[in-house]
Amino acid sequence: MTVKEKLNILEELLSIQKDTLDENSLLEDIEEWDSMAVISLIAMFDSLFGKEIKSEEIKRFRTVKDIIDIME
């Protein structure tokens, strides 16, 4: 999966316009990054990657890249 494809998945998850998300964006600057987005993220990792991610791990994410790096 390319970085662009991963970004597109996150854009859909956050309900934001396609091709607008930058890898280096800080999560705290993204208005849509909230408790509901966190739950969607856990669901996405579970269904697309068969991976369980914990809330403590999510709390350590600073940038979009931190998420993309473990999307495999």
């Binding site: 309900s15 909230d34 408790s35 509901m36 966190v38 739950i39 969607s40 856990i42 669901a43 579970d46 269904s47 369980e52 991610i53 914990k54 809330s55 999510i58």
Partner: protein
């Protein structure tokens, strides 16, 4: 995993009473912002909720449900051997609310009565307890009451809890019946006890003077509860169905605790169950805690006349963290129509009995 078969027991009837006061989540636009509320409704599925008045307790809703059910089944109060109440919102710190209800319902002094403190898994644990008593003891009839007024102790400015919960009280009548049985699994993951918690107000904090009011309010770590629900719950349910050779294609309905719509959809997808087999009540009633499973059954089947039976899997999961499932057959005609009520106890049992006449 604790599993087993409880023999010679059947559910004879289920009733549910909810407050007639309806809260629309769109009324929260001014509090949390329209866009946030719309996203919340889309994800959780909760559009409206039945919310109890301050005076209206879990016991009142369970009382109304129990009275209607006893009347429908022609169960004399003296014929009931045990009353079990599963709730997290009892009337008092002590005594057990089941004792108060034994008196209010006019049940015999020979009746066993006690409370169990569980939430999302309440119905499954309650059925297991009631069925165990009937199956293994000299007990014929048990009235299982499961309910909560979860909007008590909620911070109205916390968007994760202010718009999610609905209130309700249910009554389920179980009776010794040759040839009928139910299968169960029960599990606990106490390591997650902090995931849904009201920290203050009980013995753990008795030596402290707590001035932070949020300590008395419900805290929920939605992410942790969600992770638990989509991993531990389907794993346990699949093992259970495998152990008892339950073919999911032959199950008519999977009635899950109505946690939120997103969770239910994800759970169904993971288990390979079509959503047509997963009844939903959360859209109109909210997350109704322990009573969500019987409430959903009443919502779907209430008032059905047919004596056809349905094969059901009931599965509750959440606060504790506690979870479990039951496989049983239920007559379609077992559920009474939904009851909407503004009733509450005014402190005088003799007056309550007069009003009932």
């Amino acid at each position: 995993m604790a599993t087993g078969i409880l023999k010679n027991v059947e559910i004879k009837g289920i009733a549910c009473a909810v407050p007639d006061h309806i809260v629309n989540n769109e009324d929260y636009f001014d509090v949390f912002g329209e866009e946030n509320v719309r996203r919340f409704i889309k994800m959780t599925g909760v559009k409206t909720r039945h919310v109890a008045f301050d005076e209206q307790c879990t016991s009142d809703l369970c009382y109304v449900a129990a009275k209607s059910l006893m009347k429908k089944l022609n169960w004399e109060p003296s014929s009931i051997d045990a009353l079990i109440l599963v709730t997290q919102t009892p009337d008092y710190a002590i005594p057990a609310t089941a004792c108060v209800l034994q008196y209010r319902l006019g049940l015999s002094d020979d009746c066993i009565a006690f409370d169990i403190n569980l939430g999302c898994s309440a119905y499954v644990y309650g059925l297991w307890q009631a069925a165990t008593m009937i199956s293994t003891q000299n007990i014929n009839r048990v009235l299982l009451l499961v309910g909560d007024t979860s909007n008590f102790g909620i911070n109205q400015n916390d968007s994760s809890t202010a718009m999610i919960f609905g209130d309700g009280g249910t009554a389920t009548a179980l009776e010794k019946t040759e040839g009928k049985d139910l299968k169960y699994f029960l599990k606990t993951k106490g390591s997650g006890y902090k995931s849904i918690i009201v920290p203050a107000g009980h013995a753990r904090s008795r030596s402290q003077i707590i001035t932070d009011s949020s300590e008395y309010e419900l805290y929920m770590n939605g992410a942790d509860v969600f992770s638990f629900t989509i991993t531990d719950v389907p794993n346990a349910l699949n093992s259970f169905m495998k152990e008892y050779s339950i073919d999911k294609n032959e199950v008519d309905m999977f009635v899950f605790h109505q946690a939120n719509l997103f969770i239910l959809k994800h759970l169904a997808k993971k288990l390979g169950i079509p959503m047509e087999k997963v009844p939903i009540s959360i859209d109109r009633y909210g997350n109704t805690s322990g009573e969500s499973i019987p409430l959903t059954l009443v919502d779907v089947l209430g008032g059905e006349q047919s004596d056809d039976t349905l094969k059901l899997i009931l599965c509750g999961f959440g606060v504790g963290l506690s979870y479990g499932g039951i496989y049983l057959e239920l007559k379609k005609s077992a559920c009474l129509p939904m009851i909407y009520t503004n009733y509450y106890f005014k402190g005088d049992v003799s007056k309550e009995r007069e009003e009932d006449k």
